[in-house]
């Protein structure tokens, strides 16, 4: 029991500690592809350190939502981390608290408050960006739902620990059409939800064009650090859900010994590094879509998710 709690805390620490590193590696690789030198992969840590030691300025016109949001944005990915498999293939102590749908809603709560906070200060650019995040969000929502429905249809459960086993037992199941199409649909979702390139430009700081960036526009000092760290962790958690639950539980610890769990950390980081390479290829080969083309992009994701479900329906008749 105590061991399970310990592993659960370790899982949270891994997400807390390595999510800025993932963001740093992603930035560095992207700059290298553009044949620039790029910042150090540890730059996000330095940024966070710097922000935590600066003064915070809060507008007098803002309400409690503005002050409360950074904590919520910071805490929600950590809460989801308690529920999902990051390092182990067996459920840990807190995993009973919710399934994948609960995780999705908890992440959505952070996004909801971030949008409210962006409107709260009455900065003209905040609401513009917030309404755009909501547009992307409500277009992504049906895709999320269909992905989860398909998962529960195929695996008979929405509990991530049961789902991840389904894709590799027997090994031929990895090539189930519904599995591959679900991976495609969720990859597109990660791009949309993480504010990555075909939907949003993460390195753009032009107020009129920004979508995801706008929610931390008014923050400074520790508040900004929490918002940024929360953003890194959200991407990290989404990648963990994608790689460990929806792709395959390869590299995760299946034995309850601490050696196996510690070994799982580098293996999971290696998986995430592989995924970052894929992300780099996508980000470097595509251009950012115009705002109204985002509906088409997420429409394609929706079609892919529904096609995954239809494939499963077609196969049941077999």
């Amino acid at each position: 029991m105590l061991r399970m709690i310990l592993y659960n805390v370790l899982q949270v620490l891994v997400v807390l500690g390595f999510s800025p590193l993932a963001a740093g590696v992603l930035n560095r690789l992207k700059e290298m592809v553009q044949s620039k030198h790029g910042p150090s992969i540890f730059q996000p840590y330095r940024d966070l350190w710097k922000f935590f030691h600066k003064d915070e300025i809060v507008s007098e016109e803002s309400s409690w939502i503005f002050r409360f949001t950074p904590y919520l944005v910071f805490v929600t990915p950590l809460f989801v981390t308690l529920l999902i498999p990051v390092l182990t293939t067996y459920p840990l102590f807190f995993a009973f608290m919710g399934d994948m749908i609960a995780g999705g809603f908890v992440l959505a709560l952070g996004g909801f408050f971030a949008a409210l906070a962006a409107v709260d200060t009455a900065n003209p650019y905040g609401p513009v960006g917030a309404s755009r995040t909501r547009m992307v969000g409500f277009l992504a929502e049906p895709v999320f739902m269909i992905v989860f429905f398909t998962v529960s249809f195929v695996a008979g459960s929405t509990i991530p620990y049961i789902v991840q086993e389904k894709w590799i037992t027997p090994p031929a199941n990895f090539f189930m059409p519904s599995h591959v199409l679900l991976m495609l649909a969720f990859l597109m979702l990660i791009l949309a939800e993480g504010g990555r390139i075909p939907v949003d430009n993460p390195s753009g700081h032009f107020e009129l064009a920004m979508i995801d960036e706008s929610k931390s526009l008014e923050y400074s000092g520790p508040g900004l650090a929490l918002m940024k760290w929360g953003g890194y962790m959200k991407l990290f958690v989404l990648m963990c859900i994608f790689l460990n639950v929806l792709v395959a539980p390869w590299g995760l610890a299946s034995a309850p010994s601490s050696g196996a769990v510690l070994l799982a950390i580098p293996l999971v980081l290696l998986k995430i590094f592989g995924f970052l390479l894929v992300l780099i290829v996508i980000e470097s080969s595509l251009a950012k879509l115009r705002l109204f083309r985002i509906a088409e992009f997420l429409g394609a994701a929706f079609i892919t998710a529904v096609a995954a479900m239809m494939m499963q329906v077609f196969l049941v008749g077999r």
Binding site: A172, F175, G299, I303, M310, M311, V313, F314, L315, R318
Partner: protein
């Protein structure tokens, strides 16, 4: 071995379905052509996998003829005959906007399931694969592509996609389909491509565009008025 082949075949058909969707929505003519080539490759892959699964040698022949005619000869022929200008242009005006077209396409796929269901129940279990419903879906989506597109080459590709869909259903139901049939259809397809390519070139020379969707109405130029578009 069998579950691997079954799953891989199902995957090939699943991706086939996705390319059919893509051909409805893709804006660029060149992208549409690439999707069609990919679809033909997936059709050949499905034929090979079914051939391995049920040890039906004829299906390898179907795959080879499909690859040679649709993946190698067809793009080459199209490039030779159709005006080069169409590969660089973006087709912006579709009859429906893209999300609406995709949703209707989705409804067609669901319809195809209900069309295929009685057929699937009527045949022996070994013929019940995803090929038949997806073949029907491919047929319907190809027809839908023809309906919503206004550019000459995507219209042709929609027609050929219908043929691909029919074949995807056919290779599952008739494993010993005579190679002669496939050869005849492949030649037929190539001749269609040749004729449409030449025709497109002629149309482009005559009216300066290949957006044939706008030529549905025959109008005379009113005296002193603007020329009809």
């Amino acid at each position: 071995m069998t579950p691997w082949l079954d799953n891989l075949n199902a995957l090939a058909t699943g991706l086939f379905l996705l390319t059919a969707f893509g051909m409805v929505a893709m804006r660029q003519v060149r992208g549409c052509l690439n999707l069609f080539i990919l679809q033909s490759v997936l059709l050949a892959a499905s034929a090979v996998l079914l051939g391995l699964r049920y040890s039906a040698g004829d299906l390898y022949g179907v795959a080879i003829v499909g690859i040679v005619s649709k993946v190698i000869l067809l793009p080459w022929l199209l490039r030779k005959t159709a005006p080069a200008e169409i590969y660089t242009r973006r087709e912006v005006d579709q009859v429906l906007n893209i999300p609406t077209a995709l949703l209707i396409a989705l409804a067609l796929v669901i319809l195809s399931y209900f069309l295929a269901l009685p057929l699937l129940n009527a045949v022996a279990p070994e013929f019940r694969g995803p090929n038949l419903p997806i073949g029907i879906a491919g047929l319907l989506l190809g027809a839908f592509t023809i309906t919503v597109r206004r550019e000459a080459v995507p219209l042709l590709l929609g027609l050929l996609a219908m043929e691909n869909g029919a074949f995807l259903a056919g290779i599952a139901l008739a494993r010993h389909l005579p190679l002669l049939v496939e050869l005849a259809i492949a030649t037929d397809g190539l001749i269609v491509v040749f004729i449409v390519g030449v025709l497109t070139r002629a149309i482009q020379k005559q009216v300066g565009t290949t957006a044939v969707g706008e030529m549905a109405h025959l109008k005379e130029t009113p005296a002193g008025g603007e020329a009809p578009r």
